[in-house]
Symmetry: C2
Amino acid sequence: MPQTGDKDGPRTLQTVSMASQVLMTLKELDGAGVTELATELDISKSTAHIHLTTLVENGFVVKQNGRYELALKLFAVGEYVRSQNPLYRHGKDQVDELADKTGQYVHIVTEENGRAINLYQVKGDTSVSGTYQTTKPQQRDYLHYTASGKAILAYLPEQRVREILNRHGLPGRTANTITDSEVLFEELENIRERGYAYNDEEEIEGFRAIGAPLQTPDGDVLGSLSVSGPASVLQGERFEETLPEEVINSANIIEVNINMSNRS
Amino acid sequence: MPQTGDKDGPRTLQTVSMASQVLMTLKELDGAGVTELATELDISKSTAHIHLTTLVENGFVVKQNGRYELALKLFAVGEYVRSQNPLYRHGKDQVDELADKTGQYVHIVTEENGRAINLYQVKGDTSVSGTYQTTKPQQRDYLHYTASGKAILAYLPEQRVREILNRHGLPGRTANTITDSEVLFEELENIRERGYAYNDEEEIEGFRAIGAPLQTPDGDVLGSLSVSGPASVLQGERFEETLPEEVINSANIIEVNINMSNRS
DNA sequence: GAGTTTTGTTCAATATATGCGAACATATAA
DNA sequence: TTATATGTTCGCATATATTGAACAAAACTC
């Protein structure tokens, strides 16, 4: 059958799509052997083999003690991609500064294909130490249960928000996670009125956050800046006045930095 | 002709190799349009187009204001790859600590396909501020003109070192860069005797470094740990005694951490 | 803001690269 | 050692990638 029944929309190269799946499967499985991969993707061993060989030849996969694993080249490429990102380039210093000032976690987040990408994060020195950073950083990257994510959603065209919800849904995480789209839209309305977003233990029990959007002069969201920490610290006036102000301030500075760099 | 004249060694999927080239070309060009890419890779516009479309479908490329660029998904994948790396997992904390202690730059470096990969780096607070970090971090990643790189080469089997030299050569950077392979092999001998490597302005004028290998109990090199800073600071007893000791100490701790995690 | 050039996208046809299974090779287990 | 699983190579049939040409949409130009 030509171009398998998939309703892929545009015509695509199946071999390349398979190669992409191979990469993502190696990520899922933390590396794999030929047979394992073939089973997982439901292809023949020979096909799995030639895919892996090709990816090795191109440096995206390495064969390490008998297993095929994603290569560090991907890390190098990824670093390049981040370094090209304007939000990262012009926001990094402010993140460092804000983390210093607040002592909490500070993140710069952006959105791609409806998912959150953590461009840069720093742990201020009064924020939870002792709580170990899990090795798998929570790259679970939904937008609806973080302050950064909601700050982005709030300033995205409603149409796009609906698309994202259809695509990714609103999975729950804690008792406070917003899992109903009507509730979410009300929340986004509140965020727009307020100018920044709260996360009140919606992702992790005991963790709160404040997130402000980063926008272009004509109102497009580029991403967001957030501060997060234990609910015991982010509370009272600090949570309602001081921190929001500081986050907004830093966000404004980043916005200015970006605009400056766009003038020639 | 089946499998074009290329002497690729093993049989590979040309479509996938082309897709890889597309990705790397987008990196080289900092993004490109369809025609530009087609010209660069000497393929038809339609082929370039379907490749790009496929990579977009798979999330590795995004179309941003009319140009195709590498997607942040690659950054996310790259972060995952790094997080899986034992050297990073068990070395990061030591890097932070050593940067604190010395006040200089500290790097953890490893090798892949004969090139250096900077797994993690931190700038201690007394190291050059004012000198701006260039936006393109010097991911030029040759092994022969850095302390980290030479520390790795010194403990790699000579056969592999020769392969690497054949593959990548010994391009010069400063007046001090070693560009002759015989000189390099002598230097590697010295490093083995000493137990650590020096970089005396071989990469950047005015910059020195000290690098120690990170090895498994049976002598395989996993990577290296290095401290670097201005030649005006890295000099005298500090350069010859104190810092080497501190680097070696930290390196040993990392080695132990890794071994611990391999038991059971 | 019409005309012109460049760039992006779609399509049908054909040659060819891809995916498969079977056979062989190598590694691991019993 | 034999047995079992895993990895690798090969030839073949057929699905599929590449192409050029035609069309569409931008982007300049004046």
